[in-house]
Symmetry: C2
Subunit: 413 residues, 2 copies
Amino acid sequence: MQDLSLAAARAFDAQDPLREFRDRFELPAGRVYLDGNSLGALPKTVLPRLIEVVEQEWGRDLISSWNRHDWINSPCAVGGKVARLIGADADEVIVADSTSVNLFRLVVAALELAGSRRIVVSESGNFPTDLYVCEGATRLFGKGAALRAVERDQVLDAIDSSTALLLLTHVHYKSGELYPMKDLTAAAHARGALVAWDLSHSAGAVAIDLNGANADFAVGCGYKYLNGGPGAPSFLYVARRHQDRLLNPISGWLGHRAPFDFVDDYAPADGMRRFLSGTPSILANTALDAAVDTLLEAGVEQIAEKAQRLTEFFIELIESRCRGLGLTLASPRQSDRRGSHVSYAHPNGYEVMQALIDASVIGDFRAPDIMRFGFAPLYTRFEDVWLAVDALHSVLLSQRWREPRFAERAAVT
Amino acid sequence: MQDLSLAAARAFDAQDPLREFRDRFELPAGRVYLDGNSLGALPKTVLPRLIEVVEQEWGRDLISSWNRHDWINSPCAVGGKVARLIGADADEVIVADSTSVNLFRLVVAALELAGSRRIVVSESGNFPTDLYVCEGATRLFGKGAALRAVERDQVLDAIDSSTALLLLTHVHYKSGELYPMKDLTAAAHARGALVAWDLSHSAGAVAIDLNGANADFAVGCGYKYLNGGPGAPSFLYVARRHQDRLLNPISGWLGHRAPFDFVDDYAPADGMRRFLSGTPSILANTALDAAVDTLLEAGVEQIAEKAQRLTEFFIELIESRCRGLGLTLASPRQSDRRGSHVSYAHPNGYEVMQALIDASVIGDFRAPDIMRFGFAPLYTRFEDVWLAVDALHSVLLSQRWREPRFAERAAVT
């Protein structure tokens, strides 16, 4: 057990090799923001870059910017940067569309690649869009394709000769539990299945080595730990060995071999470019680009190491200060088995979280009873962790969460 | 024949009821921008709105903005504004994703609705993404579904008892020719086909009445005459009578009936919300929202009327000044049969357009020999039309386009 005092927290911050990065973000004064796993904070470089793109590139250079400012390569250029965060090569990643749209692409493409294997295995309780998109994509694909969602500890056993694809979320959105990517990929490959990883809750926070794990496909979210802004573009990874054997089911013009020839028949581009469909949002890509630059500067190994230390400090503080106050750890206790968020169950988790937010500590709630606390290594301090637990302790001990206003439900939780 | 002098052009501008709207846009000094049909100019309201959303909503209010600033309803709220430009009701339109992704959604949904009818009829030479997406969507749908692209004057005759959907672009991206929406929709309905309109080259420039035409579906582009910025979100219209009978093939979580219940099984939301998939880009939606506000203020009827007058003035000027210089009109001569851009063929159209751009008149080129000139009624003046023809006349007469530098090809044309 380490020293759990506020002074100790401050000492950890003083020695933190990433301590200077907090100043690269706009953070609201007087609040502890522990929801960067849901919407990352605003990097200070984003707005100046956006203003430049809007004023100079769109406003002044107008249509010529597709060439002059290389807008046309923006999905590949930003993708190439994201690649460095996830253990991929630059020509294996694009940013485009939403995670749901990219999941749809890869599920259909994987079913086509897998021949007579038609079952997609995933985890029940996976992030909903993964399951929903599989339902829709397999239904449309037909020919017996279907989703088989099983309990977490059954996913390997569920793979048989009918399995086309194993689709898993690397870090679980509720529990924060981390799958051992390399071992599971190898085991699924040994059973003849392709493997796709949803990195939405891990990219930018934990160590990821897609190529080292020999993964087939991956997708992920741009607006969580990548800090690309609300609804930022998603990224899509396809291992180089598969790229030219797959077709994008949403065969739009920007994925064409020669989009500016304007011919009637579709012919896919080589490499990742074939997974593009429509014209990319340059504003959205610009924000994500600036945000990813900041992550790359910090370095993914230091980020991952700090994530483990922050979550460990949080759990130890809760164990020390909140015992007997109704919290049950809903995340792995071992730091190398979890991502960068920690969840606690509480029978009145919704109300407790609202009271905590009222006390200026921002986490979130996931039905039915989970309070999530996300730690973004670039801007979360050990002091923030200490202050958050102090506030949580106060809310629980005082039972302030029983005030009726904390039971009111908002549209988005 | 009207007065074709520069003085006359200036007099038209002085009497133009939309004359004040030009000042609502950032326009590059000393250039005539006639490519707003490809990338609309920057409305002055966009950057202040973006800065507010980035600094205040993302930066300060962070995750709470999904409720506090109603980000969650942004696809429907902005869609409801676009509806007023296209003759639809507010609850019949969303903005989301790209035109290609929305085309994919509607082609698949239409095939499912159409039962045993499995053929999508479209026009050969339609905008490529329409054809490409139909190829991909019908291939994936299987069961004999296919695209049948026929010559423009054959589209009605091509509809038979196997036709599920007639997919047409309202204003042709090259020729600017306008389909009579109401008559064609009625004729296709009489033959038992559903009808989808791609409004990419008409929305924000010509009069559109989807409900008056009894159209079934429509999509369109946010970055042309809507001025939403490079790669702005697309819009999708589904007539209310069809909404609850259709499924979104890309069944992502935001189209779920209760996305924040995080349950495992997909159940579509009522109405247009079911056509959402992933989390919307709030930055991209913000820019489009501000841009559409400007169009609504100007009023769609005045815009459409000015579009006809601008294109007519352009054609008359070319007829008067550029006769014998190798130009062939590739757009309808009758103003009520065209949209808001005019195309001319020239054997060296690429080089002529580059020389014209060098002379500060910005149009674009479409293979093999088409020069396109787009007239955005909110910011194109009659004087601009006059100056453009004057420069074109000079380039052609001087044969300046023969300079070798004008033959160099850029990545994007």
